[in-house]
């Protein structure tokens, strides 16, 4: 079965992971910009990172027949420094026309601070001015509920933003309804210890339906599993779900959302 990995940080993964993804049926991988695990030294570091996402990673993926797409931003973990944020945001427009860039992301909040909120508003403004899709990161653990509410308010307050062009990621049982009720798409991240397990993610699908939900591994430099999505598909099979329902969640839903960006094509350019 073919599937799309809509959220993976491949710059942190070895090339073998691309091969494993391809062997598991993955046809495209989408990579939001994120925190490197340490704070970058300045805007030059982000410029190099955006080149890596738009020039280098598509070539690594193509070796295994995978399409590679990306999202650009400054991660909320680096948003306390408003000067750095303004400098990095000024770099982004020059990359937006590159063929694998899908939009602005993963923006959002981390600790729900005032500066994080200000930088989120700056990113939303950037996306609106350039008519870009938006991918939102919601905070971790105890900060998720509050952060999700603050993020939803920022999006609602900007009248240029169409809810169906925004995916809000890392939802769990206490945030998924908030997101779907606002008309956004919602992503569920499958992690070994935090966020969702495959069983819980499928519970959420059974409860809220499959209309605007997708699954991702968000594999990165931390404890994570690049094959989490096909493993969730196996769990759906164990529960007796139809292949058509599994394909809808793992392939057709991400394709439907991402195709709102005309650059998202699954065939080779």
């Amino acid at each position: 079965m073919e599937y799309i990995e809509p959220h993976a940080h491949m710059v942190s993964r070895v090339t073998d992971d691309y091969e494993r993804l391809a062997l598991a049926g993955c046809v495209a991988v989408c990579e939001p910009a994120f925190w490197a695990g340490f704070d970058r030294g300045g805007p030059e570091g982000f410029h190099d990172y955006f080149r890596q996402l738009t020039e280098h990673e598509p070539k690594r993926a193509a070796r295994f027949g995978l399409r590679h797409f990306c999202w650009l931003c400054l991660n909320p973990k680096e948003a306390e420094d408003l000067t750095l944020a303004a400098e990095v945001l000024a770099l982004i427009p020059q990359f937006l026309e590159r063929p694998n860039v899908l939009g602005i992301g993963e923006i959002g909040l981390n600790k729900n601070s005032r500066n994080e909120l200000r930088v989120l508003e700056m990113h939303v403004d950037l996306a609106a001015r350039h008519n870009q899709l938006i991918l939102v990161h919601t905070p971790h653990l105890e900060d998720k509920l509050k952060g999700t509410r603050l993020i939803l308010d920022v999006l609602k307050n900007d009248r240029r933003i169409r809810p169906e062009r925004v995916i809000i990621d890392h939802v769990e049982e206490h945030t998924v309804k908030l997101v779907l009720d606002r008309g956004h798409w919602a992503g569920m991240t499958l992690y070994p210890e935090t966020k969702c397990s495959p069983a819980r993610a499928i519970d959420i699908l059974e409860t809220f339906g499959t209309e605007r939900l997708w699954l991702n591994s968000a594999c990165d430099w931390g404890v994570s599993d690049p094959l989490a999505v096909p493993k969730a598909a196996l769990e759906m099979r164990r529960r007796g779900h139809r292949l058509a329902d599994i394909e809808r969640v793992l392939y057709h839903n991400p394709r439907r959302f991402l195709s709102q960006c005309p650059k998202f094509r699954l065939s080779a350019p």
Partner: protein, 91 residues
Amino acid sequence: MKRMTRRQVLDLYFLDARHKLIEIAAFLDRVGRASGREDFRARAFRRALRELNGRGNDRARRVLLAFSDLTTEPIPKATATGACGAAGGGG
């Protein structure tokens, strides 16, 4: 989407859930045997445990709420990048 019968759910998940429940019991025993004072995480954990006996089929949501920061205003400044899993630590 089609849901499983209760029998099917138990067949598929009972042993796994039993295993996790015993792990939680052992964790609480470990905390009980240890020296020193408990902190906000242990208190949040006990609050969350109470949700398991509640009515309704939204226990996972209520457990997550028990660990959540329920304030609504942004904090003045982020002094740490990580989260610890329970509100009340001042992070």
